[in-house]
Amino acid sequence: MNPQFLMDGLIAGAIIGLGAIGVTLTYSILRFSNFAHGEFLTWGAYLALCISSALGVLGAGFTTPLGPFSFGWSLPIAAVLAIALTGLLALAVDALLFSSFRRRGSAIIIMVMASFGASLALRSLLEFLFTSKPAYFSQALQIAMKLGGGLRATPDQLAMLVVALVSVIAVHLIMTRTDIGRAMRAVSENPGLAGIAGIDVRGVIRTVWFLGAALACIAGMMSGLIIQIRPYLGHDLLLPLFAAAILGGIGSVPGAMIAGLVIGLCEAFTVQIIGAEWRSAVSFAILIAVLVVRPRGLFGKAS
């Protein structure tokens, strides 16, 4: 067996894990499955592409590759701006769509259906603007380095793993060590009590949208950098994202990341053992198995 599946699985799992954190936060606090979350990954990648390309036009120095990487300063700068813009996009979607349903006390199924509609609209808009043709942050070819133990990875892939690790640690620290993190956990557990405890529940909801979309943007950029950018980038990741959020336990940030890695590794293992056509079935199988055997996931709380 070729051990390279471990590296492939870790990289795919990091992308899934970051996306799943947004899904798990949205679900635990807003209490509905947001099927438009995949589109935040896609929009994040396209926004970063636009900003990065614009910076490239402004000065060739921005696109000169940094050390061993395939990208120049344009990408990290674009990442910061794209994260902010994707967060604002999520806030806009909430303000235009979901907040009105919350005010009316609409049933969860209505919120879920609305998220399907938002997903279609956001994806179609991207197809209209950018067509279905794949786009790339960089055309440069990278040679994978030997890491020992039969593993290989490109410098971009290793950078993405570091970014994912730093992101998940940062979110975990925010959730456990800061006022806003404790407020998010409090709203997740009991919104009514959180309100009378002095927590601005609406402010917390806005923070959750922004944070979830920011992480989705990072995941989308990672996917775009390592594979390619296309309008279905996020949509195609939706099933693994939900599988990871449920396997990790709804509301658990470390759980979502670990579950993302598990799913990524399982997918890569399946590709090697059975065949690439079975990759998507892995998420389905894990999702069903978790719901049957342990519905609260690995790190979720018993209801």
Binding site: D179, L193, I196, G198
Partner: protein, 248 residues
Amino acid sequence: MTSPVLATFSLFAGYEADLPIVRGVDFAVQKGELVILLGPNGAGKSTFVKAIAGMVPVHSGTIHLGSRDITKVAPHRKLAEGLAFVPQTDNVFASMSILENLQIAVALLPKSARAAKIDALFSRFPDLAVRPTRLAGALSGGQRQMLAVARALALDPPVLILDEPSAGLSPKIVADVFAMLKRINGDGVTIVLVEQNVKAAMAIADRAVILAEGRIRHEGTPSELADDPLIGQIYLGTARHTFGEVAR
């Protein structure tokens, strides 16, 4: 007479817009009083205090905290305004530690003042200081009430409202909780208490208000109500002699 620290005027409130549970309640509490709200099940006691706290929609009427009209103030701002509320159930964040519950409570204070306030709360409620990292969900009923009250008192509110703090507690713990409330009231905090445990509540109250069918039916001191031969049996479901024993 001085102006009340908390008052409602013709308050109508309820979960459904066309179905008020609280029906035109005029209610006033003077500074430093400990007032209990009594009444049969379904009288609207809990709905009334939840409406004051902002957890149940107010249909009409006003709520005043001191001279300020707080009827339309968002629930999360009422604590900063000086009104703290402890619900009957789910009144602590069970999945969080004792310390985290208190950290949430002091989050509205300047950062420099938070540690000292948490220390002060631990001094006031020493049972909570034994293991601050313990999950609130693992505490006993009495300890949970203690934590809920500590959380509510974190900003030194002038008014504290509690919805049946004795519910589900053993008689010994009930006595401890009511002794704690009496001490807090002795420190100058005005308390409004919804209670089913008439005997224990009457023993510490300055005044009792009886609600039935969403309206105030009677009010007075415990001894005044005890002298009314019908009140205990009609509204409180207790025999007069029990009621009178407590009041006297």
